[in-house]
């Protein structure tokens, strides 16, 4: 019993909470870009929070069910339709065998999470069902969905219909976005004035933004502090002696377009980083559409930890509500 993929959408992949523990070996953490929405979708569908779901970006798939199930769609405002009839996002609904789930045009956000009771039961790869397409690892044959695919479902008890997450516990970007970041890492490589401009400028999400990294453009180029290049760094002032790249770190190749590394990022290399987006805002990045005006906001560790605590409290509210 399973789901038949009639059309795959743009780049729909199987994701769970990710594959931590191998980043030092070059294997990224993967998993849903908006794990808050992913957890909520699972809880609504009656799954374990860590079950595998579908992550659809910008455009929904068309899925035919061969068994009864409970479905919940969270994250981006990508309105679900069951046999052509509208269904609510962030709310569980029942699907009968033979019915087709499809989606209307994206209204807001970027990535929708489609949880199905029982979870998407692809094999575990290094402890996770998440798809890492660059490495052809996990998910369904290590790739995004294709028309004709059959998605196996795990055994699960279908949750009741109509379970819902209230609007105040959903988080989607508006017309403009703010990303809180801690300056650091190789911050000393740019001048003080340039550092100020980095946080003053309004950047725009670039078309290249994807699961590997979110690229931004249209801010003023960075100005570097003069140096004698250390052995191995090369002559470009944005290059460093190869280093580890943290999840969320903001690298700026050539000093022109910042890239925030995300779930499928490479784990190391030779670009300097100006700092790191705080963990509480990483889910939010996955919901940014191309061209969204975005500002980086400088915060300190205390603010970052407080924001993390707030996010956790929101998640706990959902848990308490749906347990």
């Amino acid at each position: 019993m399973a789901i038949n993929v009639i059309s795959p959408g743009l780049a729909t992949s199987v994701q769970d909470l990710g594959r931590p523990g191998y980043y030092h070996l070059g294997i990224p953490i993967s998993g849903g870009m908006d794990r808050y929405a992913l957890r909520a979708a699972n809880m609504l569908a009656g799954n374990d929070e860590a079950a595998a779901v579908l992550e659809a970006v910008f455009m929904g798939p068309e899925l035919a069910f061969t068994q009864d199930a409970t479905v919940a769609v969270t994250g981006a405002d990508l309105p679900p339709k069951l046999d052509g009839e509208a269904r609510e996002s962030w709310t569980s609904f029942a699907v009968k065998a033979g019915q087709v789930l499809s989606f209307d045009y994206l209204k807001g956000g970027a990535r929708a999470y489609i949880a199905v009771s029982g979870g998407i039961d692809v094999p575990l790869a290094l402890g996770s069902r998440s798809t890492y397409t660059l490495g052809a690892l996990g998910g369904l044959d290590g790739r995004n969905l294709l028309a004709g695919d059959v998605l196996p479902l795990g055994a699960g008890t279908a949750a009741a219909e109509g379970r819902s997450v209230p609007a105040k516990l959903r988080r989607l970007p508006g017309a403009q976005a703010e990303l809180r970041a801690m300056p650091g890492l190789y911050w000393h490589r740019i001048t003080e004035a340039s550092g100020r401009r980095f946080f003053e400028d309004t950047w725009k999400v670039a078309l290249e933004a994807d699961r590997i990294g979110y690229r931004f453009r249209d801010g003023r180029p960075l100005e570097f502090v003069e140096r004698t290049p250390p052995f191995g760094a090369g002559s470009d002032p944005s290059n460093i002696v190869d280093s580890c790249y943290p999840y969320g770190s903001i690298q700026v190749p050539g000093g022109t377009e910042p890239i925030v590394l995300h779930r499928d990022a490479v784990s190391g290399g030779g670009y300097f980083m100006v700092g790191t987006v705080i963990s509480a805002d990483m889910d939010f990045i996955g919901q940014l559409q191309p061209h969204t005006p975005t500002k980086f906001v400088s915060v300190d560790m205390a603010a970052a930890l407080a924001a993390r605590h707030d996010r956790q409290a929101m998640l706990n509210e959902i848990r308490a509500m749906l347990a």
Binding site: L10, L106, L207
Partner: protein, 80 residues
């Protein structure tokens, strides 16, 4: 004659030609057939062909070449 609109299913940047040095897929006044490409939308390092769901005459492009487009936004008007 009914006015129809071809909608972009994706957010991104709209292009009316396959490459900068190529002619536009369609000009206003041109005939278009069902399934014919009217432009491209670029997002996430790939280009997606936008095909017409209608046959008729292209009356108006609603989005200019290289302009930003949102999912669900009408790209072109077709009289058919």
């Amino acid at each position: 004659m009914a006015k129809q609109q071809v909608i972009s299913p994706l957010p991104g940047t709209f292009y009316r030609k396959s490459a900068p040095d190529q002619p536009s897929y369609k000009e206003e006044g041109d005939q278009v057939a069902v399934g014919e490409t009217i432009g491209l939308v670029e997002v996430m390092k790939s280009f997606h062909e936008i095909k017409s769901d209608f046959a008729g005459t292209v009356t108006k492009f609603l989005i200019d070449n290289e302009d930003a487009v949102m999912a669900g936004q009408a790209l072109v008007e077709i009289d058919g």
